[in-house]
Symmetry: C2
Subunit: 124 residues, 2 copies
């Protein structure tokens, strides 16, 4: 029961997620320490909650599945002993991100090629 911190809609504004999604992430166990409550019902987000959610969005925007995010969160919750495991998980994920970037860059090149031929055709 705390009275500091921001409401869920403020947190939504800060993170770019919807209030629905913030509740969903919490239900899915992604919130590390559990979000505080004011008057024992309304959520109160503090700055470190926001920082955490923003990091979650980085994982998500690199297409890490929710289930993998949860694995990571569980490791963070374990604390210092899990550092190697967290490192391994992120290094593993890093590979997939690099692969995605490569694939996308490749596809972009193909699209750009098509664009160039259309531009040729249009300017004839």
């Amino acid at each position: 029961m705390i009275d500091t911190g921001m409401s869920i809609s403020e947190a939504a504004d800060r993170t770019g997620l919807s209030t629905h999604t913030l509740r969903y992430y919490e239900r899915e166990g992604l919130m590390l320490g559990g979000v505080g409550r004011a008057s024992s019902t309304h959520r109160r987000y503090n700055e470190s909650d926001i920082t955490w959610v923003i990091f979650l969005t980085k994982l998500r925007s690199t297409a890490m599945p929710i289930s993998r995010v949860r694995e990571y969160v569980d490791l963070v919750r374990l604390g210092g002993d899990s550092t190697r495991a967290r490192l391994a998980l992120l290094l593993e994920h890093r590979k997939t991100v690099v692969a995605q970037l490569e694939e996308m860059t490749n596809s972009l090149a193909a699209i750009d090629y098509k664009i160039a031929t259309y531009q040729q055709e249009v300017s004839k």
Copy 2:
């Protein structure tokens, strides 16, 4: 009714898609000219079908929604008069691809930062 070209499973091998997905794309109207049939039932894919499907996968791997892909396909079907429209569509899509690349690159930096701190901690 043609007897040249490859079966759907060969086409699947060539494109990296499943036979299910190839049929699904055809049903969704993404196949441009319609895939030929041998003995009026079995599909026969020729080289330009394969080239086309591979281009489709480039659009998809840059997160173009199926509905947008279909718009593009419809324009291609219209032929030369639609060049400007196709150009506009691809240029529009290009923006989203660049934005995705930027976001992913950004997120990768955050992940790399985390990796670096874990590596520090592990090597202490």
